[in-house]
Every structure is written in C-alpha cells, then in structure tokens.
C-alpha cells in the first residue's frame, strides 16, 4: 500500500516539474516506447565504414533494420546471391565494400515525400538508391572523373538532381597518368549532377561541372528563392598534394562554390558541354525478375565554367569549411570553417546583388570570386571550437555541431545570437533534426552522431561501439534524454515521421508477378536440370519443406545453382537456404521471391542442406540432402520430396 502511494507520488512530482529540468525519470518517459507500440520517427543513419545504412526508431533508439547498399551482407545474401552480385559491379571490377557517409531523402516541394533514400559511396565513387517501400537497394551508379565522392548525395527541392562532388581532385579519366607534382595543372574536381526520373527514381548522369583542383567537402541545394542553386564547401584552395594537414591550412579563407544548376542544365541541354569518353557501371535491380543487371555507360557531358561563363561563383569562407547548410527559408547558407573562430552566415539575396554588380575580389582559376563582405549576412561570434554541420528547426533556429569542443550550439539564424549549448559524449560529427535539412523541419529532437564513446558503454576491448545521442529540443534548453550505440560509423543521418511511410511498406512479392527465369511457381515446377557441368535446382520453400529435398547425380566439378522460390504469400515468412561447405553466405528469400545460391561441391559425399530462418514449428525438419559423386560418375540425376517422387 505504502509502495503504491510512493509510486503515485513520484509520478505526480514528474508531472509538476517544468520542461527545463531534466530528471532521469522524465527522460525515461520521453524515450519509452511501450512493448508492441511504434516509434514516432524513422531515423536513417549512414553506416560509414560498414558500407550500409541502418534504420533506427526514434525516440527509442531501437535498431530496426540494416539496409546493405555498398557492402555485401552475409546475413541475407545481398552481394552473394547470383541475383544481387551485379549491384556491386564497378569499372574496377566487383567491389564488395565501400565507405558510406551521407544519405538524402527524396523531396517534393522541399518536403520529405517518402519515396526514396539516396546514399553515397566515398571510396569507389558511387551513388545508390533505396526504395522506401521495400527498404532495398534498387540502383547503384558509379561516378566517372571522380575521386572520393564525399559531397554527395545531396538533393534538390523537387528531387530533380542529386549531386556527387569530389573530395579528391584527380586527373580526368581521359588523361589519367600524370606526375603528382603536376597537381595544379592536371588535377580537377568535378561536381556531378544526377537526374532522378520522377516516375521510377531512375538515375542518369546528366552533366558534370569541371572545377579547379580543390577539395569539395559537403553541399546543399538551395530552396525557395535559392531553388536554382547548389552550394558546395571546399578546402585546399592552396591546391596542395602532400601534407594537407599543414599545406591545405595556409589560406585565411577557402570557398563556398555556388553553382546555378538550372543554368548548367540549360547549357548541357543546349549541347554546350564537352562529350567525354568514360566507362562506368550503372546497376539496377528489377523487382519482377528479382535480378540486378549492369549497364556499361560510356559518355559524360562536362561543363567548363571557365569557358561557359556566369553559372559558377566562389565565395570566400574562413578556414577550411566543412558543412555547407541552407536554412529552411532558402535565404541563408552557413559555412562551417573547421579551423574558424566564427560561423559565417551568407545571404542569398546579397549574393544575387553581388553577382549583378560584379562585386568580385578577383578570379580563382578563371572563376569569379565574390567579395566576402558583399555576401555575408553576419557571423556567429565565439560559437565554439571546430564547427562542422548545421541543421535547423522550424522556428528560425540553427543547431551546429562542434567537434573540438564536443557540443551542440543552438543559435538564431536572423539575429546570429547563441541561445544554448549542450555537451556531447564525445566529439560529435554530424547531427540531425528530423527534416532539419528541408523546407519543413519536423523538429522535436536533435540527434548527435559521435566519433568517440570511450566510457559511455560497457567496455568491449579496443574496438568500441560508435554512438548517437538524442536531445529534446522542444523547450528553450536542449536536454539529453538518450544514448544509443550504432553499428558502423554514423555520419550524416536524417529522420522522418513514421506516418509518412509505414503504411506503404511492401509485405511480400506476388508470386503471379515473379518473372525470374528460374522461378518455380508451385511445387509442380520444382526440378533439377543439367546443362553441361551446370546443375540448376528449381527449388521451392514453404512451411516446412524444401522441394526437392533429395538430390542425386551431382558430380565434383559441377556448379550447382540453387534457385529457391519462397511460395509463401504472407508477411514476415522468409525462408533461408544454406548448404554445407558453401563458400559464400546464406540467402534469405522473401515470400514470392526467387534467390540463387551458387555452390561448388569439393568432395564426394552426401551433403546436408536446410532452411536457415526459423519459420515454423517444424523448421528443424526443413532440411534435405544432396549426393555428390566423383567426377565422371554415372549416378543418374534424380530428385524427389516425399512420395511419390517429383519427376
């Protein structure tokens, strides 16, 4: 009785405390999502060196899914199954890993529309598209004439384009072998504009803008009044090619590169670009054949702003800017100099006026440089150390991450006054306000993605989990309410209300629409076919058996393709497949889907195979055998399940 009273009293106390005073129980209440209930937001988080994107629920911080994009995923067979291998084709061959840094969510009129998510690959320059109905990677395109695809895949207001900007300037693909010492003459940066087909999301490399040998870092499109423009930060205006730590930190100011993409689009359409001969992979996944194919593209349109004037301008920005972020009104853009003591905020209106008045301080490699003061709205004074990235809320406030001083600082975009600061644990990189890069921020939280966790979690040897931290921003003061560990290394992330996409989630693939060349639409179509040394097993899976499950007549030297069709037509009934000695991965097959595992027997014997996903009460019974005989054996090809034999 006394206990019950105490609990009631405690609850009462929490209710009466103001929003500003964070107590542990208050924070717990704010992030508690009761068993069986849903989170309010999806949080799409880049995976960094794991090459994947992870999806968390907010405010709970629960990991919901890992979406493999640029890296193989033995958990479900992505990159291992015959159908998905082609997704990882590049001009360098089959590349099963990459470094995935940023994501963008598709937009309509500057607002998240829940159709697609785009992701960049930093190392072997690529962009990928994930469908937000299936949470699957549907397309990956390589970027030619590029090194280090870092300022990517940022998106325009109506998903007209995503961009790919080069962190490393490199010699162009048609003149690759030059001396490193000839950097200033031969190395170039490029900003690629990839158009998005509004119907199906298909990507197309529309044009590339040729830039001097600077390092493009991050970028954002304009919005509203600045709709036609894209802004890229850059460092290394010194154009150093060695010891950049020192040599690329000499200049007092580097640049924001402003590109009028609308004008560039017109120039490209008018045929004013140079046609460059290139070779790059463009991989698409077909949901009907359940198979990816690679198209080899051979041409890129290059626009040179030194010849085609008036669509690229440089704006001086203090000390190696990293983040380059546009506020929800589209009137202001923020450059965050990693080594700067202030945050400069630029005015789009002033930039337009300065361009009209030709208010230039000079040229940089043939491109006009606007005067800093002519474009500046103002500077945030003494904000902190090492500003990196800025996101926004819907009330005119900005939230900037500070790596060196390990904090988030809230400031007002119009007045430039610092309003609040909170520590992060530790060394924050990116941060995210749900929709905080769009015209319509959803607000409520800011999430910190930290580089160092040190003592925040139970120790796990030298390699520790990376982390995210959730802050409530509904009050005047930001309040830390949750720590949650992340997989991989989180860089940029975004979040959207779950209500935008949860009801469109694909539940299964329709068997009737399965056009896989090796589908077995029903057990009657299950069979084993030999073509030379290739053996094709048309296998079906349904609770709780595989058909066929007894196979003989396979020989050493054969290549056995298990084409497994999941005959289930209900949500959340995947089957898996594995066979002893498979040198690849298991495969997971969603209901109505066909996936193929290639297996090469290495010894004579009888080899077990089974379903790897606990599917039913008789899951353990979902197993079978394949007999392998020596090369040249005359054991006849035979297959069956139960009685009578399937022939």
């Amino acid at each position: 009785m006394g206990g019950a009273l105490l609990i009631i009293a405690a609850l009462w106390q929490c209710k009466t405390k103001g929003a500003a005073s964070a107590t542990a129980s208050d924070a717990a209440q704010k992030v508690y999502v009761a068993p069986g209930t849903y989170d309010e937001f999806y949080n799409f988080v880049s995976g960094g060196f794991n090459g994947q994107v992870s999806v968390y629920g907010l405010p709970s911080g629960r990991l919901l899914k890992i979406v493999p994009v640029f890296s193989v995923f033995p958990e479900n067979g992505y990159g291992y199954s015959e159908e998905t291998k082609a997704m990882l084709n590049t001009s360098h061959g089959w590349v099963p890993w990459d470094d995935q840094h940023h994501i963008s969510l598709s937009l309509t009129d500057g607002i998240q529309d829940g159709r697609w998510m785009f992701a960049n690959a930093n190392n072997t320059p690529r962009v990928g598209r994930v469908d937000l109905k299936s949470f699957r990677t549907m397309e990956i395109m390589e970027i030619p004439n590029a090194g280090g695809n870092h300022s990517s895949p940022f998106i325009t207001e109506n998903s007209e384009y995503i961009v790919a900007g080069t962190r490393f300037s490199v010699p162009m693909d048609d003149q690759p072998d030059v001396s490193i010492q000839s950097y200033k003459d031969n190395f170039r940066g490029t900003a690629s504009f990839i158009s998005i087909n509004p119907q199906d999301g298909h990507m197309n490399l529309a044009f590339q803008v040729l830039l001097p040998g600077i390092n493009l870092d991050l970028s954002r499109s304009g919005k509203g009044p600045s709709h036609d423009w894209f802004f890229f930060s850059c460092y290394n205006s010194e154009r150093a090619n060695t010891l950049l730590e020192v040599n690329a930190s000499q200049n007092d100011k580097d640049f924001i590169v402003a590109i009028n993409w609308k004008k560039a689009e017109e120039l490209a359409k008018a045929g004013r670009g140079m046609k460059k001969s290139v070779r790059y992979a463009h991989n698409t996944y077909d949901e009907r054949t359940h198979t990816a194919t690679t198209k080899w593209e051979t041409e890129a349109i290059m626009l040179d702003p030194r010849e085609l004037k008036d669509f690229v301008y440089f704006i001086p920005c203090p000390k190696s800017p990293h983040g380059c972020d546009v506020d929800p009104t589209g009137k202001y853009f923020v450059g965050s100099g990693k080594l700067a003591a202030v945050i400069p905020v630029f005015s789009f209106e002033k930039m337009q006026a300065a361009i009209a008045a030709k208010n230039f301080e000079g040229e940089y490699d043939g491109i006009p440089v606007l005067k800093y003061d002519a474009v500046l709205h103002g500077e945030v004074q003494k904000p902190g150390l090492g500003p990196l990235h800025t996101e926004f809320d819907a009330d005119g406030n900005a939230y900037t991450s500070f790596f060196v001083s390990s904090e988030i600082v809230k400031w007002n975009v119009e007045s430039l006054q610092v309003l609040d600061r909170v520590p992060t644990y530790y060394s924050i990189g990116h941060l995210c306000v749900p929709g905080g890069d769009t015209k319509k921020p959803w607000g409520k939280y800011v999430i910190a993605y930290n580089k160092i966790t040190k003592d925040r979690y139970l120790p796990t040897g030298p390699e520790l989990a990376q982390s995210a931290q959730l802050y409530d921003i509904t009050g005047e003061k930001m309040r830390l309410i949750l720590d949650f560990p992340t997989v991989g290394e989180p860089h940029y992330a975004n979040a959207m209300p779950a209500s935008l996409i949860k009801d469109q989630s694909l539940k299964f693939f329709k068997l009737e629409e399965n056009n896989h060349p090796y589908v077995a639409k029903g057990e009657g179509q299950a069979k084993v076919v030999r073509e030379g040394n290739k053996v094709h097993v048309y296998m079906t899976a349904i609770r709780s058996h595989l058909t066929p499950d007894n196979i003989e007549g396979v020989r050493i030297g054969d290549e056995v393709y298990f084409h497994v069709t999941n005959l289930e037509q209900d949500w959340d009934v995947p089957h898996g497949f594995a066979i002893k000695g498979a040198a690849t991965a298991e495969i997971l097959i969603m209901p109505g889907e066909t996936q193929t595992l290639l297996w090469k027997p290495d010894r004579a014997g009888v080899v077990p195979l089974y379903c790897t996903d606990f599917c039913s009460a008789l899951h353990q019974e979902m197993q079978g055998y394949m007999r392998v005989s020596p090369a040249g054996s005359n054991v006849p090809l035979k297959f069956s399940t139960g009685e009578p034999e399937v022939q």
Binding site: L511, I542, H545
Partner: protein, 155 residues
Amino acid sequence: MKTLYGLLLLLLVGTAACGGGETGSSASPATAGPTPEEKMLAEGKGIGEVKFVELKTPLETERVTRGKAIYDMKCAACHKLDDKRVVGPGWKEVTVRRKPEWIMNMVTNVEMMLDKDEEAQKLLQLCLTRMPNQNVSIGDARDVLEFMRSNDGEK
C-alpha cells in the same frame, strides 16, 4: 486496502477499454441470442466474409481451370489431391467433409479461422503447422473450390 482494489478495478476497466485487435463481435451479451458469427460457426460455415456460396451443376469449367492453376502455385506444396496428409490434409472428399463456405473462409481468412473455428483448430493440432495466408482473393478461392469439386468427381 479498499482503495487499492479500487485502483485495480480501474486498471482492469482501462485495460479492457484499450484492448484492441479483436473485432469484439463474439463477446455477445448473455441475454441476446447467438450472433450471426456464432450462427455461422455452429452451422459449420466457418468465419469470414463468405456467408453463402451458390454451387452450380454442371461444374463451371473455366473456374476449374483457373482453380487448378492457383492450386499448383499456392496450395500443392502442402495439400495433395488424394487422401494423404503431407503438411496439410489431402483434398480428397474435402467438399464432402466441409461446407463450401467453410472451405472458402479457411482459404481467405485463415488466421481468424485458426483462432475461432473448432474444426480448423483440430486440424492445427493434427498438422502442427499453421496454414499460411497465401493471399488468395475471394474470387480465386471460389475457383479453387470449383477445382476441389472436380477433384471429388463432380461433373
């Protein structure tokens, strides 16, 4: 102690009010007669959208053909056409054992059938694998039923 019981009662009431998911139609007041749902169950028609099926003689051959194609793709893995049980029971004489409404409700509304229909529950105890929802439309289920009749020798 009284207040504590009061609280408990309140909690119970609250829980009952919040309890979602079920349609609630089976919880009929003791005084009223059987609900339409209960009547259907009692008549061996199962539970679901299918309340009445009109069977024609002779068989509708187009339905039989379509029903066979659906059977091959979505049913044959577990149901054989003779009387042998594999995963689920064989289909021989299923149209004699079951009312047509029961069959179509089992095919199109399997989750609720397994929750509420005694005959369906007996089959689950026997087979131990919940019959999957194969997302067969009511129209398709009608075709499958016609194929079952043909399998049972009707002309």
